[in-house]
């Protein structure tokens, strides 16, 4: 573990409004000029994307624009053919602190061949911290908290195969939360999710963001998550088409540190884009 283990949210508590504690200078994810191909087809053609500490960034764009490939590249699951990826300031090649990252892959409709309970699936999220060692009481407590955070505590002993799409998605998010990550990376967390589950997920994420967790997620539309989002990055044909700040939708309740500087000029840009000017 070469990376300094900084307690979650330290920066938030100290950031008294100055650059709001989430400067682009200290990104948790930094893709620079990222190129990637699936098979022989180039999918990413020079993506620049950074997520600052405590920032919530949504990737938008049409189908095939490279959203999913971008987040899969950001977790090292799609090899870059050009450009660079840094996680928490460490180049991917040397990055080992996977426990700081919680990943929610796109929900697959293909079920595993053997039943598993909700709790068993969520417990896998602790392996980032435990590795090959057995799980202990602290791990069980973290799993219980993660299940409660997404409102699935009552279903802990049910088979994941018996859940609706929205409930299944909540389980996958709980699995990522179980590792108590500092950064959440989510691929289409709202796809096929009913409205009730969308609201539960929005509240759960709001609580995480309030604690200082950074988020990078792929969305089709902002929906109930709009109030959380600091910045949207719209992709098109494997390139960044534009960056937007849905500021009016922003909910200060999820970003308590923002209200630390209430007298700031309203016209000032609230959030660094993370892009070179």
């Amino acid at each position: 573990m070469k990376e300094p283990m900084e307690p979650k949210g330290t920066e938030r508590n100290e950031g008294t409004g100055v650059a709001r504690g989430r400067s682009a200078a200290d990104p948790v994810v930094a893709l620079r000029g990222a190129h990637a191909a699936l098979g022989s087809r180039p999918v990413l053609r020079g993506i620049d994307l950074t997520v600052g500490r405590g920032e919530v960034v949504a990737l938008l764009g049409a189908n095939g624009s490279g959203k999913s490939t971008t987040v899969r590249a950001a977790v090292g699951q799609v090899p870059l053919t050009g450009g660079a990826l840094e996680l928490f300031g460490t180049p991917l090649r040397r990055f080992r602190a996977w426990r700081r990252l919680g990943y929610v892959p796109q929900r697959s409709t293909a079920a595993a061949g053997v039943p598993a309970t909700v709790r068993e699936v969520v417990s896998s999220g602790r392996l980032a911290r435990r590795g090959l060692r057995p799980l202990g009481r602290a791990d069980r407590d973290a799993v219980t908290r993660a299940l409660a955070a997404v409102g699935m505590a009552e279903r802990a002993r049910d088979s994941v195969g018996a859940l609706s799409g929205g409930q299944h998605q909540r389980v996958l998010i709980a699995r990522a939360l179980a590792g108590e990550p500092e950064l959440l990376i989510m691929d289409e967390p709202l796809a096929g999710v009913d409205l009730a589950s969308q609201r539960v997920l929005a509240d759960a994420l709001c609580a995480q963001v309030a604690e200082g967790v950074s988020v990078l997620l792929v969305l089709h539309e902002l929906g109930p998550l709009a109030r959380l989002i600091d910045r949207t990055v719209v992709l098109r044909d494997g390139r960044v088409e534009r960056v937007e700040h849905p500021e009016r939708l922003h909910d200060p309740a999820c970003h308590p540190h923002d209200s630390a500087a209430p007298d700031e000029a309203p016209a000032a840009p609230r959030i660094g884009t993370g892009f070179p000017a």
């Binding site: 990252l101 990943y103 892959p105 053997v114 068993e120 699936v121 896998s124 999220g125 002993r157 590792g179």
Partner: protein, 292 residues
Amino acid sequence: MTELLDYAFMQRALLAALLVGVAAPAVGIYLVQRHQAIMGDGIGHIALTGVALGFLLSTNAVWTAVLVAAAGAVAIELVRWYGKARGDIALAMLFYGGMAGGVMIINLAPGGSTGDLLTAMFGSITTVSPADVTAIVILSCAVLAVCLGLRRQLFAVCQDEEFARVTGLPVRLLNLLLAVTAAVTVTVAMRVVGLLLVSALMVIPVAAAQQVTRGFAVTLGLSVALGVLVALSGTAVSFYADVPPGATIVLLAIAAFAVLAAFTPAAARRRARLAARREPSGMLEGEVARGG
């Protein structure tokens, strides 16, 4: 009933059956979990080359079969990583190559003929030697150490490989370990049920158990219990009724599957009732708590 314990060869047979009954489903559950139920069968084909090599070199066939099967399992795993579209054809060639290699090598051995492979293909539990028992005990302990000791890690890898990689688990190492463990299990089970039927004991107890279970740990426990039950009772039945043990064990496993399948609708109805009773409170959490 204790009559069969009077014979040393039956004591060895029952010990071997017990160990295989535990080990085969304990590995098989991970293969079933990632839809590779047939992999044990392929490894069994490849192991034939190892059996023939043992015959050719006049050494204990269990050890040569372990080596060749493990190499074959690693090759299967490599095909899975790199093979992509043509993977199934590569696997088919590996399986049939293993079988043809076995037949070829056994016929090259002095005094060897294809018939010598039959005991390996269909099992001959009553001819398990003390040396075989030693090998079987050592190998099954190794198998169980991997399958139970690393069950959370193997579960995570077989449930969602991409997620497991992002948690920093050594996924490739775990996959190779599982492949080699499956190969070892196939060879251990070779004397008991035979290479052609070994996959049945890895898959059917798991398939039977999961009809009435909701979780992985419970499925693992129940399938091991079923594996032990059919392996021991099959061996005993074959002693008294003078029928082939391997086939008896597999048919008993299928019977266990059918019995549990018959109970499943009742169990499912009961579960649905329980779920219906729980649902209102589940909705409370999702809906009312939000003033919805």
